[in-house]
C-alpha cells in the first residue's frame, strides 16, 4: 500500500486521541449543555437499539452511537433559519438541532405524531421548525439539495447557511463532485460535513478509495477544508464555528471532514458481526476514544464535574428517553387517508 492509504495518520488510529479533551477557554455551562445533548443522543439511540433487538421496531435504523460529538459540535452555532440536511444515519443530526425525542421515537414507530408524521421512519426525518430540512437514505441524495438551499440562502441575502452531513461512502458518488463544483463556482454558503467513520456498510475505506482522507476531494474543487478528530467536541465546535462564520460573511463553501467510528453495525442494533465484518479489536480501542467519556474526563480534571453530577444527568436523560418512548408507543398511526393525501400538495 502506498502512503496515501494512511493519509489520515493518527486521526484514524484509535490508540491516539484518547486523553481528556482540551477544554481550555471553553464556557463550562455550554460544555455541560453539549454533554447533555450528546448523552441524550447516546441514550436515545441505545434505546432504539434495544427496541430493535426486542423486535419492536420493524423499520431499518442506522445508529450513530460513538459519533455524537459531530452533530452536537456542528449544530452549536447554527440558527433555526439555517438549512440542515442529513442522510441515513441522522438521528443525531435531528436531535442536536433541538428536534424532540418523542417526535423521533414516534417517527421510528410510524406514528402520526412523528417528525415526518409517521411517513418517514428512521431514514426520512424532517424538522422544519428547527431547520432540519430532511434526511434520506439514498447515498449523497441530499448533497445537491443542500447546495440548492445554499443558493436560495444566497439569493435571500440574509446570511443563512446550508449544512449537509454525509459519510465517506457518499464521497464515491458522482453527485458529490458535481455538488462541490457548483458550490465552489457559485460561492454558495454550504458546509459539507463528511463523517468519515472509515466504513461504508461493511467495506473499509481502504477497499474503496486510494486515500482515507476524503477532504482531498474538496481541495480538488478549491474548497477550503479541514480534517479533524470527530470525537473531540471542542475541536468540532470551534472548527465549524469558524467555517460557518466565514460562510455567513460570503466566504463561499467549506468542507469539514470529521474522523470518527461507529460502534454498531451499518444497520440494526448489533455491533458488527451481522455484516460479516470482524472488527472487534478496533472497536474495543475506538470505545476508549469515546467522545462523551473524553469530555466527562476533561470536566472532572478541571474540577467542573464529579461522578455524582454525571450520574444525575445521565439518570435524567434516561428518564426523558424512556418517557419519550412510552409516549411514542401509545401514539396513533397516521389515518388511512395519509397514503394518498400526502403525495401531492393538493389532492387532484
Amino acid at each position: 500500500m502506498d502512503m496515501d492509504s494512511f493519509e489520515l495518520g493518527d486521526l484514524a488510529n484509535p490508540r491516539c486521541y484518547t486523553e481528556p479533551l482540551d477544554i481550555g477557554g471553553c464556557d463550562p455551562v455550554l460544555l455541560r449543555a453539549q454533554l447533555r445533548m450528546m448523552l441524550l443522543i447516546r441514550r436515545a439511540e441505545e434505546k432504539i437499539g434495544d427496541m430493535l433487538a426486542a423486535q419492536k421496531i420493524p423499520t431499518p435504523c442506522h445508529l450513530g452511537i460513538g459519533q455524537e460529538a459531530i452533530a452536537v459540535g456542528v449544530s452549536e452555532y447554527l440558527r433555526p433559519t439555517d438549512r440542515v440536511f442529513g442522510a441515513h444515519r441522522s438521528h443525531a443530526h435531528f436531535l442536536a438541532l433541538g428536534g424532540e425525542v418523542t417526535a423521533l421515537m414516534a417517527e421510528i414507530l410510524g406514528r402520526d405524531a412523528g417528525c415526518s408524521r409517521g411517513m418517514g421512519g428512521s431514514m426520512h426525518l424532517w424538522g422544519g421548525s428547527v431547520g432540519f430540512f430532511g434526511s434520506v437514505p439514498i447515498v449523497a441524495g441530499t448533497v445537491p439539495l443542500a447546495v440548492g438551499a445554499a443558493l436560495a440562502a444566497k439569493k435571500d441575502g440574509e446570511s443563512a447557511v446550508a449544512v449537509v452531513y454525509f459519510g465517506d461512502g457518499a464521497a464515491e458518488e458522482g453527485s458529490i463532485h458535481e455538488s462541490l463544483n457548483l458550490a465552489a463556482v457559485w460561492k454558495l454558503p454550504v458546509l459539507f460535513v463528511c463523517e468519515n467513520n472509515l466504513f461504508s456498510s461493511h467495506m473499509h475505506i481502504s477497499l474503496r478509495q486510494p486515500s482515507n482522507r476524503v477532504a482531498r476531494y474538496a481541495e480538488a474543487h478549491r474548497i477550503q477544508a479541514a480534517t479533524v478528530d470527530g470525537n473531540d467536541l471542542v475541536v468540532v465546535s470551534r472548527t465549524s464555528d469558524d467555517m460557518v462564520a466565514a460562510m455567513r460573511d460570503g466566504g463561499g463553501p467549506r468542507f469539514l471532514e470529521v474522523v470518527t467510528y461507529r460502534w454498531r453495525g451499518h444497520v440494526g442494533h448489533r455491533e458488527d458481526n451481522d455484516v460479516g465484518v470482524n472488527r472487534s479489536t478496533d472497536l474495543a480501542l475506538w470505545k476508549r476514544r469515546d467522545p462523551i467519556r473524553r469530555l466527562v474526563d476533561a470536566l472532572t480534571v478541571a474540577g467542573e464535574w464529579d461522578n455524582h453530577a454525571f450520574h444525575a444527568m445521565d439518570e435524567a436523560v434516561k428518564t426523558e428517553v424512556e418517557e419519550a418512548w412510552q409516549q411514542a408507543e401509545t401514539a396513533p398511526y397516521p389515518p388511512a387517508s395519509a397514503l394518498l393525501d400526502r403525495v401531492y400538495a393538493k389532492r387532484h
Binding site: R83, S116, W126, V147, G148, R347, H348
Partner: protein
C-alpha cells in the same frame, strides 16, 4: 376572434418564452437554471435573450452537471423558490433521475406533507435530423409512472404558454415536456389567465363519431391533422389531447370511446409499458367489451433506439400517413356506420 380581447399570433417556441416572461415579471421567487441558457441555439426561440432582460442571476447557465443542478433546484424549492430547470434534451436529464424520482417525487409523502418541492423540470424532446439514439428520446412515460410527479405535455402554443405557467405556480414537482417539432406551430393567444394545474386534464380538441384518436404533445398534433384529413375520406374522428400525463385522467377518453366504439392511441415513444398501453388498459378496465366495435390499437415507435440514418428515421417515427391508414383499417374493417350497442 372575440371582440374586446387582445389576441396575438405566436408560435409554440415564442409562447414558451411568453410564459417565462410572465413568470419572471410577476414572481420574484422564480429563477431558471440549466445548460445553454445564455447560448442562442440550445432551446430554439423559447428563451431568447431572457438573460439580458432578467439578468444572469435569475437565468443561470450552468456547469455540465444535470444531477447537481436539478438537485439544487429541488433544494431551493424547499426554501420558498420556484425554480425552473431546463434540460435542452431530455436524454441528458437521465443523469438527474435521483433528484427527480427519488427526491422531488417522494419528498412530500416522505415528510408527511409538511414540505413540497415546487420545482418545474423542463425536458425538451428534440429528435429527428439524424441525431441518433441519445439525442432523440421521449421518455414521458417513465415520469408518468411515478406518483408524486406531475407531467404535462403541451401540444399547442396556448398550452405551451399556459401549462408552463400552471406548472411553475403548482406546489408539486412538475415535468414540463415540450417538443421541438412543434416550435413553428402558430396560434392566436388571448391574455394569460392563471389556472391551477390540479384542474387541468385531458381535453376533446375536435369532435367526431367514428373513432377516438388520443395523443399527447406532438402526437396530439398528429392526431388533429389526421382527423382533419380523415374527414375528406368521410371518417369522423374525435381527438383527445391528454395534456397532463400524471396524474392521468382518461375520463374524456372513456366517454368518447363509449360513443365511437373505436380507440386509436398515438404515442411518439415505445410501446412496452408505455403511455398508449396505459390509456388502452384504463379504457378496457372501464368499458364493457360490448361497447367496442374493434380491438383498440396503438401507434408507437418500433422497439428500437432511434436510428441516425435518415432513411431509417423515416421508417421509425409515426407519421400522418401511418395514422390515417391505421384508422381507416380500423373503421372500414368494422364498418364505418356500425355503432356501439348500449
Amino acid at each position: 376572434m372575440q371582440s374586446g380581447i387582445d389576441m396575438a399570433r405566436v408560435n409554440y417556441g415564442s409562447a414558451i418564452r411568453e410564459a417565462f416572461v410572465y413568470l419572471l415579471d410577476r414572481y420574484p421567487k422564480v429563477f431558471v437554471i440549466g445548460q445553454g441558457l445564455w447560448a442562442k441555439w440550445y432551446v430554439g426561440n423559447s428563451m431568447t435573450d431572457l438573460d439580458k432582460f432578467y439578468g444572469t442571476e435569475r437565468i443561470m447557465d450552468s456547469p455540465v452537471s444535470e444531477l447537481a443542478c436539478t438537485g439544487a433546484a429541488v433544494g431551493a424549492s424547499l426554501c420558498g423558490y420556484r425554480p425552473i430547470v431546463v434540460h435542452p434534451r431530455m436524454d441528458f436529464m437521465l443523469y438527474a433521475m435521483d433528484a427527480i424520482v427519488n427526491q422531488a417525487a417522494k419528498w412530500s409523502h416522505m415528510v408527511g406533507g409538511q414540505a413540497h418541492p415546487a420545482v418545474t423540470i423542463r425536458g425538451i424532446i428534440n429528435r429527428g435530423g439524424e441525431q441518433g439514439a441519445q439525442h432523440s428520446q421521449a421518455l414521458h412515460a417513465w415520469f408518468a409512472h411515478v406518483p408524486g410527479l406531475r407531467v404535462v405535455m403541451p401540444a399547442t402554443p396556448r398550452d405551451a404558454r399556459d401549462l408552463l405557467i400552471s406548472s411553475v405556480l403548482c406546489d408539486d414537482p412538475v415535468l414540463y415536456l415540450d417538443d421541438r417539432w412543434l416550435y413553428e406551430l402558430e396560434e392566436d393567444l388571448p391574455p394569460v389567465v392563471e389556472c391551477p394545474l390540479e384542474q387541468e386534464g385531458s381535453r376533446v380538441v375536435s369532435r367526431g363519431d367514428d373513432v377516438t384518436l388520443v395523443g399527447a404533445g406532438y402526437s396530439a398534433w398528429l392526431c388533429r391533422e389526421a382527423a382533419a384529413a380523415l374527414q375528406q375520406r368521410s371518417i369522423s374522428a374525435e381527438v383527445i389531447d391528454l395534456r397532463v400525463l400524471n396524474p392521468l385522467d382518461v375520463s374524456t377518453v372513456i366517454q368518447s370511446v363509449e360513443k365511437t366504439g373505436r380507440l386509436c392511441v398515438v404515442d411518439g415513444s415505445w410501446s412496452s409499458c408505455g403511455l398508449a398501453g396505459e390509456v388502452i388498459a384504463r379504457v378496457s378496465e372501464t368499458l364493457s367489451p360490448r361497447k367496442l366495435l374493434g380491438a383498440p390499437v396503438r401507434i408507437t415507435l418500433p422497439d428500437a433506439p432511434a436510428p441516425t440514418s435518415g432513411f431509417l428515421e423515416k421508417l421509425y417515427y409515426p407519421t400522418l400517413d401511418t395514422i390515417m391508414e391505421t384508422v381507416a383499417r380500423l373503421v372500414i374493417r368494422e364498418g364505418v356506420h356500425a355503432k356501439a350497442v348500449d
